[in-house]
Symmetry: C2
Subunit: 431 residues, 2 copies
C-alpha cells in the first residue's frame, strides 16, 4: 500500500510502499541507509543485504542524490528518528538514476545560480518549509474571510481603468480594442462589488512595472484586498488587526514545525494580537526627525524610515492620517483636518516594512470629481467608478495586504523572492 | 447594534440596525414598505406613520430604488416573509438618494447594455446568486485539496516558456529583457513543484488571446490545475471524478438556496457521483459518425460534437486516448497503442462542454525531446522543463479545470460571461 511519509506513524509494524526521491544515501559493507523524501517529509530507510534480494541491494548502492525510487518495507518505531519511525526495506526499486550530479548540492551556491535552478532548488528542505508556510498563510487568509461572512470576488487582470498612477502599469495590445493595462489593484472593482454583496475580498496576482531592485519588491506579486460597505476608518483598522492576528495565530498552530526548521524565533510572533499600536503620520515624522532623519512633513517614507518606526514597537504599527497629496486620489479626507486622509499603512515589526495599505474611500460624488481633477486624472476614464457615488453611495473602506511581504516577515526571510514559488524580478522571468 | 439581514432570525423581538439599499419600495397613506437589501439577503421593512417621527416618515416616502439607508427597528416573526422575519421600523435615515433612475430597472435590457453596466448589474438578485455560487465553488475546490493533502503552489503569469501553442499567447514588453508571455497554463511549473512537494494545485487567472466569440469562451478566465508525482492515467481519472463530485456535493449542501433561486433543476446535479462513464476517443468518433456527424479519426471535437457525446450520459463523461497528433507534445503515449495518448477530456452533461483537460505527462527525457521536435517546438526554450526528466524523473499526471465553465454548468447559465464578476471577452474590457 502506497503511503506518504507524513502518515507513517499510523503504520508502525506494517509493510508499506513509499514513492519518492533520495535525499541523502550512504552504505558500508552489508548495510545501506537512504534518507528518502516524498514531499511530505523525510524518513530513513535501512537496507540490509541479509534482508533483501541481491538485485535490490545492488540497486541500492547505485542510488545517488535525487534518484527517484519506490521502497517497500516495514515501519519500525525509532525514537531517535525525526518522525519517530524508520523503514526496514524489503524491496527497493529505482525509478530513475540521474547520470549527473544534482545541481543543488553545495551550501554556498550564489543566489543567481539558485534562481537559475529554481525548478530544482524547490526540492531543498528550506524551500519546502517556505512553500508550506506560504500555503498555510493563504489558508489562514481564506479561513478568516469565510468565518467573517466575506464573499470572494475575483477582480480582473485586464483593465482599461487606472488604479493609482499610470507610470507603473504594464501595457498590452488587446485585439482591435487598443491598449489595456495589467491590474495594479482590484480595489475599484471591489468597491463596485461591496455595494452588491456587503463584504468582499480577492486574492491573486498583481503587477507593477517598477524598476525597483530592493529585497521588498517583486514585479509580479500576490495581494489580498478586502472592501466593506458602511465600514469607516476605525472599522477598517479593526478588520486589519484581526486579520493579521488571525494569520499569525493560525500559522503558530499549524505550521510551527516549518518555522522552527527555518530557525524563526516564534516568541516574537506570539506577541502579535490586537490591539496594534497606532501613530499618525505627523507623529511619525516628528519621531524620525528626533532620530536624525532628514525628512519633512509631506515626504513619503522609504524602507529605512519604516524600519525605524517599526523598531519602536513589538507589534505591527498603524501609521495613519497621511498628507492628502502623498496618497491616492480616492482617500476620504479627515473631517477634522482636510489636509490629511483617513488612511493607514501597517508596518510589520523587525524591519519587514509595509504589509498593508488601507483607507476609507471618498463616497461623495462631487468631492471625488474634484480630487480626480486635483490629481490630473482623466475623469471620463472613471465613468463607472463615479456611478458608484451616484446610485446609493455609502461610506466604505478597504485595504490591500502584500502576500510575499507577509510571508517574508512570518518566516523571517531576508528577501521576498524566496516567498513565492517562481519569482519575477527586474531581470528574471526564467524559469 | 448593526446586524446583517442573513442573521436576523437570531434577533427576533430585539431592536437592530440595518445598513443597506432599497430594493423596492411602496407607500400608501400612513404606511410604507421597503424591501431592503444589504448583500446578505432581503427583508421587508414596515414603516408606519404612527410609529415613527414625522421626519422619518417623510424621508421614507422620498426613497427610490438603490437609495442607501440605515434602518432601526424591531425584528418580528412573519411566517409569510422569505426569511421568516420582517422589521418594524423605529427610525429610517437615508444615506444617499439617487437623483436619477437606477439604470438596471427593466426585465428586458439588452446584454450589451447590462454588460456596459456590469458594476451596477452585480446588484441584481440573479447576479448576487451567481456570485454566491461562484464563491461556494471556489471554496469547495480548496477544501477538496486541503482534505487530500495538496499544497497550493501559485504559478507565475509572466513566463518565457510556452505552454501549448504560441499563437494564442498575449505578448508583453518586460523591461530590457524583451518579450514575455502571459501564462496560458501553470502546468509546467506545477510539474516542477510536484517533484518537490508530491501533490500540488493552483487556482487563478489564465489568458488566451483567442478570437473566439462562443458562449464557452472568455479571454481571461480562472483555472484550477493539479499535478501529482507518481500518479498515472488511472489515478488521474479518479482524482478528477472525486474533485468534481466533491464540488457538486458541497454546492448542493451549501448553496442550494442560490441554485433554486436561479430555477436550477438540482435533481440533475444529485446524480453526479463516482464513477463517471468513460469512452475512448475512437469510440466517440464512431458514435458521432453513427449520428451523422462529418468527422474522421484524427479530427478534434467542436462544441456540437461535445454536446452530442454528453447527451448519451447523465454524468460527466471522460473521453480518453485522443490521437497523439491532436494533443499537446507532453502527453504520455499509450503503451498499447503509441498513436494515442494517456489523456482525457471531461465533458459536462447538458451541453456545457469540456470542463477538464488532463493527461499523464511524458517522463522519459529522450521521448520528450523527440516530441518537442515532432511538434516543431524550440527545444532550448524547454531547458528547465527537460531538467525534470534528468533528475529523478517519475511518472506524473495532472489536469486543468475551467472555473467559469464549471460554474455555468452548476448554475445552469447559458453563457459563461455571467460566471465571472467582470468578464473579458473579445470586445469587452470595460468596466
Amino acid at each position: 500500500m502506497w503511503v506518504y511519509i507524513r502518515d507513517l506513524k499510523n503504520y508502525v509494524g506494517k509493510e508499506v510502499e513509499l514513492r519518492g526521491w533520495v535525499w541523502r544515501s550512504r552504505s558500508s559493507g552489508k548495510i545501506a541507509f537512504i534518507n528518502m523524501r516524498d514531499g511530505t517529509g523525510i524518513v530513513q530507510v535501512v537496507v540490509e543485504a541479509s534482508s533483501v534480494d541481491e538485485e535490490t541491494f545492488k540497486n541500492t548502492r547505485k542510488l545517488r542524490m535525487e534518484s527517484s525510487l519506490i521502497v517497500k518495507g516495514i515501519v519500525k518505531e525509532e525514537q531517535r528518528a525525526p518522525g519517530g519511525v524508520e523503514i526496514h526495506a524489503t524491496h527497493v526499486t529505482p525509478v530513475q538514476i540521474p547520470s549527473e550530479d544534482f545541481p543543488i548540492n553545495k551550501p554556498d551556491h550564489s543566489i543567481e545560480y539558485l534562481m537559475d535552478h529554481r525548478h530544482l532548488w524547490l526540492r531543498s528542505r528550506r524551500q519546502m518549509h517556505i512553500l508550506n508556510i506560504r500555503d498555510t498563510v493563504l489558508k489562514a487568509i481564506r479561513k478568516f474571510y469565510w468565518e467573517n461572512g466575506f464573499i470572494q470576488v475575483d477582480t480582473p487582470i485586464f483593465t482599461g481603468a487606472i488604479g493609482e498612477s499610470a507610470g507603473n502599469l504594464f501595457k498590452i495590445d488587446y485585439f482591435d480594442y487598443g491598449k489595456v493595462y495589467l491590474a495594479q489593484t482590484g480595489q475599484l472593482y471591489l468597491e463596485a462589488a461591496c455595494m452588491a454583496l456587503g463584504k468582499v475580498f480577492n486574492l491573486g496576482p498583481t503587477f507593477r512595472a517598477e524598476k525597483s531592485k530592493t529585497r521588498r519588491h517583486l514585479i509580479e506579486f500576490w495581494m489580498n484586498e478586502a472592501e466593506v460597505a458602511y465600514y469607516e476608518h476605525e472599522d477598517n483598522l479593526k478588520l486589519q488587526e484581526n486579520l493579521v492576528s488571525y494569520i499569525i495565530k493560525y500559522i503558530l498552530e499549524n505550521a510551527s514545525e516549518h518555522l522552527h526548521a527555518l530557525n524563526r524565533d516564534t516568541s516574537k510572533l506570539e506577541k502579535i494580537e490586537p490591539p496594534f499600536p497606532r501613530i499618525t503620520y505627523t507623529e511619525a515624522v516628528k519621531l524620525l526627525q528626533k532620530k536624525g532623519y532628514d525628512i519633512e512633513w509631506g515626504d513619503d517614507f522609504g524602507g529605512d524610515e519604516e524600519t525605524e518606526i517599526a523598531k519602536q514597537f513589538e507589534k505591527p504599527v498603524f501609521v495613519t492620517h497621511y498628507p492628502r497629496k502623498a496618497k491616492a486620489f480616492y482617500m476620504q479626507p479627515d473631517p477634522e483636518n482636510p489636509d490629511v486622509v483617513l488612511c493607514d499603512d501597517l508596518i510589520a515589526p523587525e524591519g519587514y516594512g509595509e504589509i498593508i495599505g488601507a483607507s476609507q474611500r471618498i463616497h461623495d460624488y462631487d468631492l471625488l470629481v474634484e480630487r480626480l481633477k486635483e490629481f490630473n486624472l482623466p475623469v471620463e476614464a472613471y465613468d463607472w467608478y463615479l456611478d458608484l457615488r451616484k446610485f446609493g453611495s455609502v461610506p466604505h473602506s478597504g485595504f490591500g495586504l502584500g502576500i510575499e511581504r507577509t510571508i517574508a516577515w512570518i518566516a523571517g526571510l531576508e528577501h521576498i523572492r524566496e516567498a513565492i514559488p517562481f519569482p519575477r524580478t527586474l531581470y528574471r522571468v526564467h524559469p
